[in-house]
């Protein structure tokens, strides 16, 4: 018995010494501190947390959400979103960047593309998503930049492309920054095979090669110009008959004259889309010739900002693959809260083909409060048959009000209300006689870090 106790004591003593040595704070402290300091010093974190409570209501039809015009329908849900950006500066020339989101939705699962099954991680579809994972490499005193990996790709305004994708990006500055040229090669983007619906994704093709060349310049402090060329070759791997070969040429101009500012974007789109028809091996080829424009005339006087906006794209509003329908790779446009929108909640679409909008926007700031009001009148690019021998392109009107209160520098709450008043072209497309309004209401909060 005594031997056993002695043995146990000996074992405890050895164990104590082992633990003491292993966890001794001083033994490896110097080496660990050096590593820890190096990483922490070179690491940057940023991001934001956002939560929004949505409420939609209508007795009318709205694509993807309200399917009939018989009863008054309501949708209410809450979304929660945490964005995390990590940047590790490996050396003065190399950075590794990653962005990941934690996202979930609670509430009714009525809205298309929003999974509202629950809140726990993993149970509501994709809760944790890697958006970006790429490195940047700078050369020639930062004048030349390379980026490689899963990264954000966008073109001005997001009319053609605003998406994360895998590929290579290169940019080069000359003439002391007066001129910047860039080249993108994008091999694939997330869910490129799936059709997200109107304005999201590109057909069912998934073998993508996208090439972009562009340049930015500013001749003086009052004028800047960006112009670009995009070529996309998109094939369907499963059905080798389908493909799209499309080109875009665009420019984006910004003028500042004292309190006035003008923004003008023009894009010409051409190319061919070949689809396999249903009944035979015959293929149908569509030659695309389309255009997009966006004009913004603004005036700023102290806390007041007033802007006239006109934007639209050619096309047949009901047929995306059409000879004059403007094509996009993955657009992300937000004009209003309900009709042209990609910021959450109800949305008729996030791209522009076949629709034109013109309206006014007024912004006002006082103390920590910012207010925005907007009115936009929508028309379809082509006239729609309303009745026999009667055509119209009057799509509807949208009214919107947004408020934002900055409680602290990094914490704000916001509120948004929008009403869409449908007209003849809309009701005809939706095959209803109902002209009831469609309402959207949102209240939320956001903390940046």
């Amino acid at each position: 018995m005594r031997k056993l106790v002695k043995g146990k004591l000996k074992f405890s003593y050895i164990l104590f010494l082992f633990i003491a040595i292993i966890f001794s704070p001083n033994l490896y402290a110097e080496e660990e501190n050096v590593e820890l300091d190096k990483n922490i010093k070179n690491l940057s974190f940023s991001g934001f947390f956002r939560t929004r409570l949505w409420h939609f209501q209508s007795k009318n039809v709205f694509p993807g959400s309200f399917e009939d015009d018989i009863t008054e329908k309501y949708v209410t849900y809450q979304d929660l979103f945490l964005r995390n950006r990590f940047l590790l500066k490996v050396s003065s020339n190399i950075e590794i960047k990653t962005v990941f989101d934690i996202f979930t939705v609670f509430g009714e699962s009525v809205i298309n593309n929003i999974d509202t099954k629950g809140g726990a991680l993993g149970s509501a579809g994709i809760n944790l998503k890697t958006r970006n994972l790429y490195l940047t490499y700078a050369l020639l005193s930062q004048k030349m930049q390379f980026a490689l990996g899963l990264q954000p790709f966008s073109l001005p305004g997001g009319y053609i492309l605003a998406s994360d994708g895998t590929g290579i990006k290169m940019s080069y500055d000359i003439f002391k920054g007066f001129w910047n040229s860039y080249i993108y090669y994008i091999k694939a983007y997330d869910n490129s095979k799936e059709n997200f619906g109107e304005g999201f994704g590109n057909y069912n093709f998934n073998d993508n090669d996208i090439y972009v060349w562009g340049s930015k310049t500013s001749f003086n402090e009052n004028y800047s110009l960006e112009f670009y060329y995009v070529y996309q070759k998109d094939l369907d791997l499963n059905y080798d008959a389908d493909w799209a070969k499309l080109n875009w040429v665009g420019c984006h101009n910004k003028f500042f004259i004292n309190k006035y500012f003008i923004e003008l974007a023009l894009i010409y789109n051409s190319g061919k889309i070949r689809e396999k028809t249903d009944d035979s091996a015959n293929n149908e080829t569509t030659n695309v010739k389309a255009g997009l424009f966006d004009l913004w005339l603004g005036f700023r006087y102290e806390a007041l900002e007033f802007a006239l906006k006109v934007k639209g794209a050619t096309g047949n509003i009901t047929h995306r693959i059409h000879s004059n329908s403007f094509q996009d790779i993955r657009a992300s446009n937000s004009f209003t809260s309900l009709i042209i929108d990609n910021t959450g909640g109800l949305s008729y679409r996030g791209s522009l083909y076949g629709i034109l909008g013109q309206g006014i926007e007024i912004k006002y700031a006082f103390s920590n409060f910012e207010l925005l009001t907007r009115y936009v009148h929508f028309r379809t690019a082509n006239k729609i048959n309303i009745q026999e021998n009667k055509k119209s392109n009057y799509f509807g009107d949208e009214y919107e009000i947004q408020g934002k209160y900055n409680i602290e520098e990094y914490f704000s709450i916001f509120i948004n209300g929008a009403v869409f008043n449908p007209n003849e072209a809309y009701t005809s497309i939706m095959q209803t006689d109902n002209k009831n309004h469609i309402y959207e209401f949102m209240i939320g909060g956001r903390v940046d870090y």
Binding site: S44, S46, R85, K97, D101, R131, S141, Q142, K143, P152, S154, P156, G157, G158, A162, S163, D164, D173, K176, G177, F178, N180, K216, T217, S218, E221, N222, S224, K254, F256, N258, F261, R300, E302, A303, E305, S332, N333, S334, N342, T343, G344, G350, K363, Y364, A365, F366, S367, N368, E370, N406, E409
Partner: protein
């Protein structure tokens, strides 16, 4: 002839010593302050919220500090407003005993004057027009890398900076943003105006001043934004004459106590809200 050569060499050597930047030693400043029962405090002309005028009265965090320092030393405070390029000379010429004027610690100044422990920390920041920064947010989820601080502007090569002449930020922009265009302004208001009129895209100053300015002019919030300096910070210290160790010890003790008692934080809140 030998004499002429000797005099030329003598004048040359003497003039070298005259122009060399050697610190002026003032080791008896503390004794002088106590003996005269008066402390001459160099303050900035106008530097809200540190020091500014309201209803014909000087107020601000540094005015509170100056009164507190005089009380601690049991002497009378005398305020002497100075321009930013005369701080060091005023200390050397005994025009002032200490400087309390949002003075940033830097190695060039440290060759000629001493600094106390920092009582404040600010980052370089830029006041800029939102429309001069490229769109980075598209829709609900997608974003390009956002412009969150002044260093992110390295990505925007055609950005035009405005900086105040002889400020630490003139040197900062010239070294860190050497490829960018620069507009030199005489004072803070000219810097702000250069952004409002579009002559420059952003005015660089410390984050504290720009935040105060934005709060005072909340009408600018819809169209303008402040990008701060990220991890890089400027240490704001009391400027002291070179060589007086007793004065430095006493000032450091006083600064430490102000921080411990939370008085600087309290004064900051009070004056930011004014």
């Amino acid at each position: 002839m030998k004499k002429i050569v000797f005099y030329i060499i003598y004048i040359f050597v003497f003039s070298y010593y005259l122009t060399a930047e050697e610190p002026v030693i003032r080791e008896n400043t503390f004794n002088d302050i106590i003996r005269k029962k008066e402390i001459k405090i160099g303050i900035s002309m106008n530097y809200p919220p540190l020091n500014f005028e309201k209803d014909n009265k000087k107020i601000g965090i540094e005015i509170e500090m100056a009164n507190s320092l005089a009380e601690f030393l049991n002497v009378k405070p005398v305020f002497i407003p100075l321009s930013v390029d005369s701080y060091v000379n005023a200390l050397e010429k005994k025009e002032v005993d200490v400087i309390l004027a949002g003075l940033s610690r830097d190695l060039i100044r440290a060759k000629r004057i001493w600094f106390s422990e920092p009582y404040f920390q600010v980052t370089p920041a830029v006041f800029t027009d939102k429309k001069k920064i490229p769109q980075t947010k598209f829709g609900e989820f997608f974003e390009e890398t956002p412009y969150k601080n002044i260093w992110d502007l390295k990505r925007k090569q055609n950005f035009i900076f405005a900086v105040k002449k002889a400020s630490v930020y003139e040197d900062l922009i010239k070294t860190e943003f050497s490829e960018h265009r620069l507009v030199i302004v005489e004072n803070n208001q000219q810097g702000i105006d250069s952004v409002l009129t579009g002559k420059a895209f952003g005015f660089v100053h410390d984050s504290l001043f720009l935040e105060y300015y934005m709060q005072e002019n909340s009408k600018l919030k819809s169209g303008y934004v402040i990008l701060k300096g990220g991890k890089r910070a400027e240490k704001i210290c009391v400027g002291l004459p070179f060589g007086d160790i007793i004065l430095k010890n006493q000032i450091n003790l006083w600064v430490g106590e102000l921080i411990r008692q939370g008085l600087i934080e309290k004064w900051l809140q009070e004056h930011m809200n004014q």
